[in-house]
Symmetry: C2
Subunit: 603 residues, 2 copies
């Protein structure tokens, strides 16, 4: 069975040393509670919960799957008990505001913990995971009564939440939804329609489920401007706020999926289910984005968690498995063969995983600081800047970390050779679980359009400049530092190129809008690689400083430098391919007609 | 359910137009039977068998899997009947020699058909698929009696074959095998040991199973020089050559796998099973490579087949699924949204699949001609040249086509969005099935070492030169052709660079052998991209010529040119990343110690 240890030392490096979280927290209102000692204690406790409670249920949950019987969904064995422990431990409300029953700790801390949950049991993690988005939507757009009724229960964890967006004929294009909301005499609404792909739509972990549902009012304008958001509980709360009458929302069936078998992905039928409007009529899309942005970051963290999990187990296997001798001569002559970690190509795979795990962690925790500032920052200018950076980086976190997460989990399988394909080892499950992360909450293609079209080009590149300026300042500050030249010089060049490349696409897009779509995914990947290059350069600076100071952790800092160097030498060259692909433009994509695509096989 | 139509038009383009198979066949002894009409008829009949018999069993076979009960393995419903039809139709012996009961048609024709089998039902295809390797080994190394007893049955298809190489503690490193062969009084051997990952090791499709088993004789030298090959039948043939007494070889268990569920992947226990030596004692590894090389090409074809299958279904979905409007304005204003094939990024994914399918097909059929020549060529120099090219390209066919096949099947899932993750659509099965192709018959890393270490560097680059010279001559011949300049110019540059890059690695490897392993996988991928570039340039020349001639298939040839252009503009730039990665060398891979790899999470 796969093992997992939370990367506490690396978390400490990124949070305490590189991004100065202690200072960051001390400046946040309420953040003063998050002292280094408290943070450490929480991370250690979370690590224990993930390893001891969630990890043992990961493979069994995958094998067992969920069961729909008589309208009720049973999660795999042990999931319900683990969730009870989770609620008992106060985890659901960790980063929620005190006024709603939460502990008021910063969101970023919840994100650090979330990596551990995703690494040990993604399918389980999605039961509480969707509650955050639902809570966010209610916190920002709900009435006081809705907050009192639903938000407190979500924070407490006794109820869980869902996001009901997709319908059979529409996912990306929510303007097409058909679910209807008809006003009732008492100010509520009857919701009728079918939603698909609803994660944790029905299950036995919590006493009630709070669905946040997109639907159209009778007088709705056509398209995406006519969508409203509703809260639709599984059980209608009674006078005391406890689950009362069963509402008209039921699970029609469970999807059969490639992975995350332990999570119930439901077709949900709304049959005149009673719902309550959240936010203004026809403004549901904006409310939905509140949920969605948090969810997108959450999915990026899933990519990160799975990468780390795969890395750790591939590393253990590579140290243990004896096969062939090192090309340069036996390394373990006393054994029948050398451990495969001596082979350069095995190391390439392990280092790819390691670099994406550590790079992803830096990206998540860098972005997490922006979330803290957006939510609780006191300085208006700082808050605005954080909001800009968060908007820019959200699609990168989501899509880049899931794309490389899929690659990394596949490298994990590859290190195991044929054994990687066998279920018992657990490595192929990580690939199957990772596969969904490139799809849900907006595919990589959709994230790429969001990044290049909405965030970068719509702001005439201003949004990007906020970030490239920060990178530029870093490079300027370190340009005389010979020890960092191997990182800072290529970074400075890339950073400038990023701006030029953006300008190039922008110019072409003025003549032909299709150029945006043609460049988008390569642009997103390019952006991800440059962003990680920036963060690895900062990590290298930190490591160099720590090495200069001395101390007994020199090996840790040298390994950090080695990883940064591997990233620069072996992964960053991929930007060359993406750059050329972007510059090639739309023509070769658009030339062939839809009919002619099939001429090789259609008669 | 996924659909499939064999790409007969594209096959005709590659075989008849581009590679002049009619002339190739007419020069082969026995090949004169393979007239264009006969070839067409066989391909059409094969297409029908694949589509009508195999395809309907693909999803059900995946869901059902195999069952081990009382030592007997039951393949999924319908597999046995389909196999009976296959034998009935004379397919197993299509490319086998007449003296062993085959039809004596060229091997290349079997490979063209094999693409269709792999595209429609990979798991089923592996029951007859392994027989080819076993038959090859017996044909080349077996005694006349062994051929009469076993080879004829394999050619007939009433018996199937296996390759029993891997053991729990060794796959790549066969020198470590523990299976023992003890001589018996009558000149046979008692084989004892455990083999794992044995595809089609036990099943109910055929009346007997012929295991080809690697084992060590009592006096065997240590390591890979002490391995011998044995034929071990499930049932010992009686006096009439029919299955007689049950031999001591049994299926201990079935592996639980990520994919190819319909194929029985067995743990095989040999308990003093009676076996017969094939070839000379201690020379089993050489015999094994006879099986293995054919099997490796076969796995490359699996990557190709899955790519084509995924492409066809993604194309159908992209034409059908309505979602969002084209960025440049509605293309289907009469519908609620445009079909997603209007979006440039969806086209990028489809064209990636199309280019890898068509490029892979060219590579397989180009290599297939070399196989024909090696087996039946009459001109000694031509034969030697074919052998060299085949040796060079075998690891490229195996590893490159499976790496890009995995990418392509994943693009297929991505085109489907969330639906791609749902089993009913069949797209995720193609990914799971494709995943094994990067692993078995030697992982990508092993193929890469074979290419760079054994084939290229061990020959001081001479092997590579045979191929780059052919490319050079093509480029020279076309350098004045302005219509082809978009292909020929970059190809000529790349071809030269390939040689230089090889020289660079070779120089470094003289100082440090680890440089070979450090460069190998990037070198293999680089080589694959350049090889496909050469073939696409030839395809473009052919298409240009056909367009100049006129005729009513202009759309087909224009689409071919469009695909070649897409390949050059959007996929070939990946060579830039691989080149830089190769040049970065071994240092960043070898710096970190095995212990320090884990410092971020180990305490």
């Amino acid at each position: 069975m796969p093992d997992y240890q939370a990367p506490l030392r690396d978390l400490r490096f990124v949070m305490d040393e590189m991004l100065d979280y202690p200072a960051h927290y001390s400046r946040l209102p309420g953040g003063e509670e998050a002292t280094p000692d408290v943070v450490s204690a929480i991370l250690e406790e979370g690590a224990r919960f993930a390893r001891e409670v969630l990890l043992p249920l990961n493979q069994s949950g995958d094998r067992e799957g969920c069961l729909l019987e008589g309208g009720e969904v049973k999660a795999p064995k042990g999931f319900k008990q683990a969730y009870a422990q989770y609620v008992e431990g106060g985890w659901p409300g960790l980063a929620a505001e005190a006024e709603h029953g939460g502990q008021g700790l910063p969101a970023s801390l919840g994100m650090a913990l979330n990596e551990m949950i995703c690494a040990t049991n993604l399918a389980w993690g999605m039961y509480p995971g969707l509650s955050h988005g639902a809570a966010d939507a209610l916190r920002h757009h709900g009435t006081e009564a809705q907050k009192a009724t639903y938000l407190t229960k979500l924070v407490e964890g006794t109820w869980t939440g869902t996001m009901c967006l997709t319908e059979p004929h529409c996912g990306t294009d929510l303007g097409l939804i058909k679910t209807r909301a008809v006003p009732t005499d008492d100010g509520a609404f009857d919701i009728t329609g079918t939603k698909i792909f609803i994660s944790a739509g029905e299950h036995d972990l919590a006493e009630n489920i709070v669905h946040l549902v997109l639907a159209k009012l009778p007088d709705a304008p056509a398209g995406s401007k006519g969508i409203s958001l509703f809260v639709v509980p599984k059980f209608l709360p009674d006078g005391d706020g406890n689950p009362g009458e069963r509402n008209g929302v039921t699970c029609g069936s469970l999807e059969h999926k490639m992975g995350i078998h332990g999570n119930a992905t439901c077709v949900m039928n709304f049959d005149a289910a009673r719902g309550y409007l959240v936010g203004a009529p026809h403004k549901g899309l904006a409310c939905m984005f509140t949920m969605m942005n948090a969810a997108r970051i959450g999915v990026g963290i899933q990519g990160l968690g799975l990468t780390e999990a795969s890395f750790q187990n591939a590393l253990a296997y590579a140290r243990d498995r004896l096969q062939m001798r090192a090309l340069a001569g036996a390394k373990a002559p006393e054994k029948p063969a050398d451990p495969i970690i001596v082979h350069p190509d095995v190391r390439r795979m392990l280092l790819t995983q390691k670099a994406f795990a550590e790079g992803g962690r830096m990206l998540v925790l860098y972005t997490a600081q922006m979330i803290d500032l957006v939510e609780h920052g006191v300085d208006a200018a700082e808050k605005e800047r954080a909001e800009t950076l968060l908007g820019l980086l959200t699609p990168v976190v989501k899509a880049f970390l899931t794309e490389v997460g899929f690659e990394a989990t596949n490298e994990g399988v590859q290190v195991f050779g044929g054994h990687g394909f066998i279920q018992e080892w657990g490595m192929e499950q990580l690939v199957r679980d990772a596969r969904i992360t490139r799809l849900y909450e907006g595919t990589t293609g959709i994230q790429a359009l969001d990044l290049l079209g909405r965030k970068v080009l719509m702001s005439q590149g201003e949004t990007l400049k906020v970030f490239t300026k920060e990178i530029h300042q870093f490079c300027r500050a370190e340009e005389g530092n010979a020890e960092l030249a191997e990182f800072v010089r290529p970074l400075a060049k890339l950073n400038q190129e990023w701006g030029e490349l953006t300008m190039g696409v922008g110019m072409k897009a003025m003549a032909d809008r299709e150029e945006v779509g043609a460049a988008s995914v390569d642009y997103l990947m390019y952006s991800g690689y440059v962003t990680l290059a920036y963060l690895f350069a900062r990590a290298a600076r930190q490591a160099r400083a720590a090495l200069a100071e001395g101390g007994d952790e020199a090996a840790f800092y040298r390994a950090k430098l080695d990883t940064a160097r591997f990233y620069y030498q072996r992964l960053l060259p991929r930007t060359r391919a993406h750059k050329l692909s972007i510059e090639a433009g739309a023509e070769s994509l658009m030339a062939i007609s839809a009919e002619d695509f099939g001429l090789g096989f259609e008669n």
